[in-house]
């Protein structure tokens, strides 16, 4: 367990270090701090959205050691020593990732609020399954709700990205 300090009310605060988008960050946090709040509040990585806060909508999806997870269901202390990739971390400098490019080309987003999570879930799928079937794409994003697009253009974008990989 990481080291901690105790405040005047007897509440413990833990020092954790995690790698986010390639850089190490050390933060002192309470045990009940959620990963989504740490990313948004402390690191200003606002691309990770806060929606339902119950693990239903998927708009806070990030990659934890390469696998997609809901950042609203993870305690930040559990991410000590681990690698997080958020939407801000998937492009290569100025160059967008192929998934981002295909979302743009196919208009795979409208209001954009689910988009970061949707792109992360798609990336996580393609990392493991570079040639997914349409069903596999739908299954991979089934935990990401989008009220605008009916998923039609999102599925097209992900399948097209797989073709170009």
């Amino acid at each position: 367990m990481s080291s901690f300090v105790v405040d005047k009310n007897g509440i413990k605060r833990y020092a954790i270090t995690m790698n986010v988008n390639g850089s190490d960050y050390t933060k002192v946090i309470k045990a009940n701090t959620l990963l989504v709040d740490l990313l948004r509040g402390d690191l200003d990585l606002i691309g990770t959205k806060k929606g339902c806060e119950l693990g239903d909508c998927g708009c806070c999806t990030v990659m934890l050691d390469g696998k997609s997870v809901n950042a609203c269901l993870l305690l930040a202390v559990d991410c000590d020593g681990r690698e997080i990739t958020t939407i801000e971390g998937i492009q290569d400098g100025e160059d967008l990732d192929i998934v981002q490019e295909k979302f743009i080309e196919h208009a795979g987003f409208q209001c954009g609020f689910c988009t970061p999570g949707m792109i992360i879930s798609s990336k996580a799928l393609l990392n493991e399954t570079p040639n997914p079937t349409e069903y596999e794409v739908r299954e991979a994003i089934a935990g990401n709700l989008c009220r605008c697009t009916g998923y039609v253009n999102i599925v097209k974008a992900v399948l097209d990205a797989a073709e170009d990989l």
Binding site: K50, C52, A107, L145, R147, N153
Partner: protein
Amino acid sequence: MKQDYSYVGHSVDRNDSYAKTTGHAQYTADLKFPGMLYGKLIRSTIAHGRIKSIDTSEAEKLNGVKAIITAKDVPSMKYGLSPARFDENIFCIDKVRYNGDKIGAVCAVDEETVYKALKLIKVEYEELPAVFTWQDAAKEGAPQIFDEYPNNLNTEIHHHFGDCDAALKDAHYVRTDKFQGQRTYHAFIENHCSTAYWDGDRAFLYSSCQSVHYVQYHLCRVLGMKMGNLTVRQTNVGAGFGGKLDPTGLDFTAVILSKITGQPVKMWYDHNETFLNGRGRHPITMELTTGVDKNGKILAHKFDAVLEGGAYTGLGIASSYYAGSLLGVLYEIENYKFDCRRFVTNLPPCGAQRGHGQPQPRFAFEHHIDLVGEAIGVDPIEMRLVNARKGNSITTAGYEVKSYNLVGANKMARDASGWTDKKGKLPVGRGIGVGNGGFVTGAGFCQYRTDYPHSIGMVKIFDDGSKAYVYSNAVDIGQGSDTVLMQMAAEAMGYPYERCQMITGDTDLSTLDFGAYASRQTLMAGWAVKRAAAEVKKKILAKACEMLRASGRVKEGYGYLDGPLTPEDLDCVEGIVFIKQEPAVKLTFEEVARKYFVDHGVLLGRGWYHPGKLGGNHKGAAVGTSPAYSSATQVAEVQVDMETGQIECVDTWDVHDSGTIINPKLFHGQVHGAFYMGVGETIWEEVKFDMKTGKLLNGNFSEYRLPTALDMPPVESLTLDDSYEPNGPYGLKEVGEGATTPTMGAVANAIYDAMGVSMTELPITYEKVWRALRDKKASGK
């Protein structure tokens, strides 16, 4: 009519593509200001009662709490949509009217402290009996929710055109059916959020809303502020679908609390609270009676609707009118009677949701007309072709309809779906169904009485000509209005689209627009920016003419120029100004704009739009008037598991009569999303309450069941090539809401075709289907 355009009709990428795919796009909840406080509303925990006392003393002692306010601390002026039904206060003054009603607000240094403080606030009530259904609300001696609505009757509408009773007497066949809709919710993913701060006597409010203008108007009216002293701003909005149109308690309290504390205040809803804020679709109880001749031509139609409104009126008054006002646009019905009542109940208020008031009545009518057709032996699409409105006509209610090709939409949908080979020929459990719909392209009237234009546009060319700023407070809630407005502006001034920039979401910096509702922006803000851009082009051509004449490059008085060069001899396309008869003689827009700046200062174009006086003289005619009406046909094919009742929507087709399509890629996206919401409401979605306490039961996405990517069928979105609307800029009309209206009918009809039992209650859940099949089996039919 159609021309070759540089940008109109092209699938250009959205202007927010980079921001939204990289996570850089900011939404209201992403904003941070130095010293910002966090706040939430104090909510009622009972459905109906008098507030006896509110004890905030314990909460005030909590370290980090900065302010707690209740009704005594805020103005008591009521607000709403229609002045006759202004019935909502910032906070409840004497009574709470639903479980979750607004009692006060708390702000503190961080979110955790806010939640702790909320738990320490004690509200004592004198509990009153409550009503949760319109049937209970309408009973003799029912608890009265508002003094101003005796018997809880909030609205009553009686429209009667022609003579229904006489026509029904002569009908070949008459049929009556009853239907029940359910309460649904917009279910955008971004929760409402409002953040405000003050600078001297000026307040600045960021709100995740659908109209910066209406938020500014309503807040200033209630708070007694000059509109020039309240700036309403907007970042990206995580969708709205009608649920971010009314001002929320967050908007008012962010402004008030930041004034009291002298610090920026962020007010936010968590997900459950967005459901408590409500304003989703009304459950409607409907009875339809139709008389037809032997060909299926409708001779008379009676529609009785009762809307269950929840606690306040808000946009619900418009929902009531919309429930009946557009049927006569869709079909030519000479004798039409519409009776409607809206009751208040002790539940969160209902309001506007995509297709406003219309989708459930469309479901009822579209299924009813299939049952009528079945009884007289007429195919469903034939029934619709016989009754469909034609263009250039006037409805029974007096609405003028220009372009309208519902006939073409039905025929195209029939051919694309293989209807003729499928209808009546599919195996048991498989079914195909059709539904029609459509919508207004902008409402004919503002939400409040004003003689303002409905939209103002402006274009400013940057000093050296390298950028065109397009001004409009039209709100891009995801539908892509910024992109299509810039496409139209770029087209109209002959300037590269890629170098246009939208200036929007700011009541100080940008120009008036009423916002995103009634599918109005592409047409209304479209006209405004198109006219502004055309004025810029006129100035550019005049300046270019002057420059060319001064340059000596033009041989005036010879050949095609028998006199001096005039601006009319020039055109400008994609940033190049040229002589139409001699395109090699040209200047760049940029150099002409720069010269204009040097000679005259800033290069501006201004435009406006007002729909003018639109038809209909009966009471309530305002709701339903529009400069242009879309129409649409959808066909759905479903598979019903005859053992379990599970429904799979297998394939769907949509043909939208939408005029000129400004951006096909975004257009089809609207159709997909509209169908998605419609199919969700048909099969899965329903907001539920405990019927003893009025407590919300499923204010989350695991129990309020949205379709996932695994549920969503493919949608083939088709358009009519010859569709052109003379009242729309470039011939356009709406798509976003109209495409939701046929869906419930199409899917319900397909389910009926598959299982042979008519399902008249929404949502048509697997369980209801299973029960209906079981009953059918038991009855031995």
